[in-house]
Amino acid sequence: MTVKEIVKRYGNKRENLLQILHDLQNQSPQKYLNKKDLEILSEEMKIPLSDIVGTASFYSMFSFTPRGKYLIRICESPPCHLLGAPAIFKVIESKLGIKEGETTPDGLFTLEGTSCLGICGVAPAMMINEEAYGNLTEEKISQILDQIREKESKR
């Protein structure tokens, strides 16, 4: 959808800004808010760009830099921490060769931490895009990443 269409969908009101920003980010192949879109949004909604970016930058779930097609979010809540979240980070970091906040050069994966995912029963846990994974081990992580790689290579 174009920026204009998204604005139309929610209505051109300031209180809809966050929802519109989410849609904008979600439909972006690189999962971020790009400058051009925000400029158009500013024009459409008659909200100053500084105001839009001031608002969006407050929230950690919005990104202003391109991210991978698969967004890996490792849960950093205390239960996951106790059950090995730091080790999970290390495993993924070494497998993908990136650190937290970075994106693989092929543009496939971005690694981030997140607050509680609400699935402490299967800690340590993570989400990749909209999919949640629990009871993580090094092996399981390898499997998950390999599956994604395989799926992508067939495209």
Binding site: K35, L38, K46, P48, S50, V53, G54, F58, F64
Partner: protein
């Protein structure tokens, strides 16, 4: 509101309920430190926690900037507990604030430093953080050092709520919070208009005047309050001087017109004062080349030549152009010089080119041609009808009042302008008339008002005359007829008319988009008609408000630098007036009206004007049809020009005299709201230059007329004696905000708004005005309408702003503004070069493709000598006021391959 009794630091005080503790303390003379609050600007965020005070009975400390007082409250502002609390806040701030006061520009003027000193904080118990953000030096005037920012939010408040540019905001969160410009870009590439309002309010060294860096600390400067010499707003500020040099401009909160507000030109556009190419000595042209001369030589030559021409061809073969950039006293002296010594009424100045139709039109309708209300009243109007004024760029501080009216006070704004000016964003209704059709539009509005019975019958009956004839004319201009002429939809005309007529107060604001037409006087008469029709004049907050362009164009008119008036609009043809001046000046005077600017140049072209004295004006850039105007100046047998730089006009002169800038002389200037304010001598005249008033006096003496004053204040005494509207203007009364004329005697407080109870001419007069086409319309060969104006970053002919480094960096070259559709048809893209040609000349410049210009309309500013817009404009004159039609002529545009 009820009064309550409070105790603050053991002082008992009676004060209005609801006042904040901070303001109450201020009234009690107690200083509570603040980093964020600016109560005088209505900014009380309660966020910095430095203003915490102890309120008896409250468990916690209260932020005094937001806490309202109530009956019986007992407050301690400097108790041990508050000191401790402030210390903690300060130490938290200092964890990541660079401790480089030694080299910090703000040293000595920094609230954080003052607090640390007062509380004895040497280091932070919380250790040192590592906040290090890159320095933003992208803007030519403003340095942003975000590492020093304390996140008080003042700059954001200024930018968004007062300046309303919306360039700055708070971004990110937690320890990463910082002030962002636009989408977190460098300031130069944001919406920032470089007004520097943020610098004026920053409590620390995070925002710094770039060009003053390293040139002095606050305690080394002496400050001189003076009046800005750019536009007609009449803002006051302080020149900061060190060792005989003006280093920078800072806001002076005591300024009546502007408070701490200033625009980019006022705050940053004074670096021209110390330019090396300032004229340093008199110059005499010998064999086509200028040679340095002494003042004595120059005076002798001028005296000889003018005397000879006067003897050979009579007084009226001489003429004088005075200056809207010079002081009232200088304008008075120069018109006196012209009339008493040269013996001619051929004296005029550039007001002829901007607002002569205002003077002529409003004088006919009301009896005096000036802004009826004060600038501060604009924000109080319930509706504003703005037409032919790009206020944001041309009168930036007045634009702030308009924005305030709309966004803070709920006023409705109607913009009638062919261009999509910035204020359209604030408008309830935008009427985009075809350039040159203003009379039809006004008549259409008034037609609706009358046919719907919305006119102010009582006002019309009691205070006006000529209504019936006017009404019969207007009735023919139905909205449908007017839509065909102007292109404005009939429905919008009806809506606008209803708003105009039904709002309790509708202030009409206009500028050169109304005046600079061959129908200029007609347009102005229409503004008077609609104001009287709706009873919107002679009252507070509502009236007819022409915005004057130059800093002292109002004063230059007031002081009689006009061919038909002595000072105070006293007619030269009136025998009793002539006798009064004749007696005061001790000479016989002419009762023949003189020539106007364009007429003087036409006469020079024909050889009828042989000698011409031009004080600080630049007709070789500002006059219409420049090829003709420049030829006229070349043909003038003896041309004398006084200026501060070698202007395009000075280049053509036989003698050039070095004048001084506004920083080097005393005097008064009168702003657009008739406010007479002081300019103060800040530094000595540079090199061998002299203030113009002194030049005129010395030249007069050389020519055998006694003209001798020790100080401009003495000239004002003479003015006051001879000029009823300035009768009460004396220097000792001007220190505190100046005085607004009419001010007839030494006890009169000045006049806030005109025509209360009675118009200057008695009854207000309606004029039946018919619509006439502009003098030159587009045709097949020249298909575009060409219209001219100014931009924010430059002033008039660019003589000073083109010499201001930063202003020229931001806006370095002329641009031709073209509508996207036209650009497509012409196959030109943004930044490509085009040739614009009219029947009179042609110029080349780059294209700016913008919706600002309507289809078929091309806009250019007239600041740039390399593509002087006035080579194209039409010198066709309004028959009454003799103003040329700068706003409409026909051109063709071609892409240059």
């Amino acid at each position: 509101m009820a009064l309550v009794h409070i105790t603050i630091d053991n002082q008992k005080l009676e004060i209005e309920e609801g006042t904040t503790i901070l303001e109450a303390a201020q009234k009690a003379g107690i200083k509570i430190p603040t980093l964020c609050a600016m109560p005088e600007l209505g900014f009380k965020p309660g966020s910095c926690r430095v203003c915490m005070v102890e309120v008896e009975g409250l468990p916690n400390l209260a932020a005094s900037c937001v806490y309202p007082v109530r009956e019986g409250i007992v407050i301690h502002t400097h108790s041990e507990r508050t000191r401790q609390a402030r210390k903690v806040v300060l130490e938290l701030l200092l964890t990541d604030h660079p401790l480089d006061c030694m080299t910090c520009e703000k040293n000595g003027d920094c609230t954080l430093q003052d607090l640390a000193y007062e509380l004895g904080v040497k280091e932070s118990r919380f250790g040192r953080g590592e906040k290090k953000l890159p320095l933003d030096e992208s803007n030519p005037f403003i340095v942003r050092d975000l590492s020093k920012c304390v996140l008080c939010g003042r700059c954001v408040e200024m930018c968004n709520e007062i300046q309303q540019t919306y360039a700055l905001n708070v971004g990110y969160r937690g320890s990463k919070t910082k002030i962002i410009a636009d989408g977190d870009s460098d300031l130069r590439y944001s919406e920032c208009v470089s007004c520097g309002q943020c610098i004026a309010v920053c409590p620390v060294g995070a925002l710094i005047d770039k060009n003053a860096q390293g040139k002095g600390r606050t305690w080394e400067f002496s400050r001189v309050k003076t009046t800005c010499n750019y536009c007609g707003c009449g803002c006051n500020f302080d020149f900061n001087v060190k060792e005989g040099k003006v280093v920078k401009v800072t806001s002076n909160p005591q300024s009546v017109v502007n408070g701490i507000n200033l625009c980019v030109k006022g705050r940053f556009g004074y670096d021209y004062i110390h330019r090396e190419d300032r004229l340093a000595t008199p110059l005499i042209k010998k064999k086509g080349k200028f040679e340095e001369a002494s003042w004595e030589e120059a005076y002798q030559l001028i005296s000889d030549k003018f005397t000879q021409i006067k003897r050979e061809s009579g007084s009226d073969s001489l003429a004088v152009l005075s200056s809207a950039k010079c002081t009232n006293e200088e304008n008075y002296l120069l018109m006196k010089f012209s009339r008493a010594i040269l013996g001619t009424n051929n004296v005029d100045h550039c007001a002829r080119l901007c607002h002569s139709s205002t003077v002529a039109g409003l004088a006919q309708a009301f009896g005096s041609g000036a802004m009826t209300n004060s600038i501060k009243e604009i924000a109080e109007a319930s509706a504003i009808y703005l037409t032919g004024s790009n206020t944001t760029e041309n009168h930036p501080i007045i634009a702030l009042e308009i924005k305030k009216a709309v966004t803070k006070k709920g006023a409705k704004l109607i913009v009638a302008d062919p261009r999509e000016i910035e204020l359209v964003k604030y408008a309830t209704l935008w009427l985009r008339q075809r350039p040159g059709t203003d009379v039809a539009l006004f008549n259409g509005l008034m037609n609706v008002i009358i046919t719907e019975g919305l006119e102010d019958k009582e006002f019309i009956a009691q205070r006006t005359e000529g209504y019936e004839e006017f009404k019969n004319t207007v009735l023919r201009y139905t909205p449908e007829v007017v839509e065909k002429i102007t292109g404005v939809p009939a429905e919008d005309i009806k809506k606008a008319a209803r708003i105009y007529a039904t709002a309790p107060t509708t202030s009409l604001i206009y500028s050169m988009g109304i005046t600079q037409h061959t129908t200029g006087t007609d347009n102005v008469l229409c503004t008077a008609n609609i104001a009287m029709l709706t009873g919107n004049v002679g009252k507070e907050n509502t009236g007819v408000n022409p915005l004057r362009g130059q800093s002292n164009v109002q004063g230059a008119c007031d002081l009689g630098a006009l061919p038909n008036f002595y000072s105070g609009y006293q007619k030269v043809t009136d025998t009793s007036v002539k006798d009064k001046f004749s007696k005061a000046w001790g000479v016989d005077l002419s009762d023949q009206e003189g020539l106007t600017v364009v007429e003087i140049l036409n006469a020079a072209y024909e050889g009828k004007i042989r000698g011409l004295f031009i004080m600080a004006e630049n007709p070789a850039m500002s006059d219409p049809d420049l090829n003709h105007a420049r030829e006229a100046l070349k043909r003038t047998e003896f041309l004398v020009v006084s200026d501060i730089f070698m202007s395009e006009t000075a280049e053509l002169a036989d003698v050039v005299l070095p004048g001084v800038t506004v920083a080097e002389k005393d005097g008064t200037i009168t702003n657009t709201e008739r406010r007479v304010q002081r300019v103060r001598k800040t530094i000595e005249p540079l090199a061998d230059s002299k203030p113009e008033w002194q030049i005129i006096c010395e030249l007069a003496q050389k020519m055998g007329y006694k003209m001798n004053y020790n100080h401009p204040g003495e000239i004002m005494e003479e003015i006051a004696q001879l000029t009823p509207i300035y009768g009460g203007i004396h220097y000792n009364r001007l220190d505190d905000g100046g005085l607004q004329w009419p001010c007839p005697d030494a006890h009169h407080p000045g006049t806030k708004y005109l025509h209360k109870d009675k118009f200057s001419r008695g009854k207000g007069k309606f004029f039946a005005v018919e619509y006439k086409e502009a003098a030159e319309l587009p045709d097949e060969e020249y298909p575009f309408i060409f219209t001219t104006g100014r931009v924010l970053y430059h002033f008039h002919t660019g003589t000073i702003t083109r010499r201001s480094k930063g202003l020229n960096e931001i806006y370095p070259e002329p641009l031709v503004e073209i509508n996207p559709q036209d650009a497509e048809e012409l196959k030109v893209k943004e930044g490509e070069l085009v040739e614009v040609a009219s029947r009179r000349g042609k110029i080349r410049a780059k294209v700016q493709v913008t919706e600002k210009s309507g289809k078929g309309v091309v806009f250019m500013s007239f600041h740039f000598r390399e593509a002087a817009a006035n080579l194209l404009t039409n010198a066709a004159l309004d028959p009454v006021s003799k103003i040329p039609e700068y706003k409409v002529c026909a051109v063709k545009v071609q892409k240059i391959a």
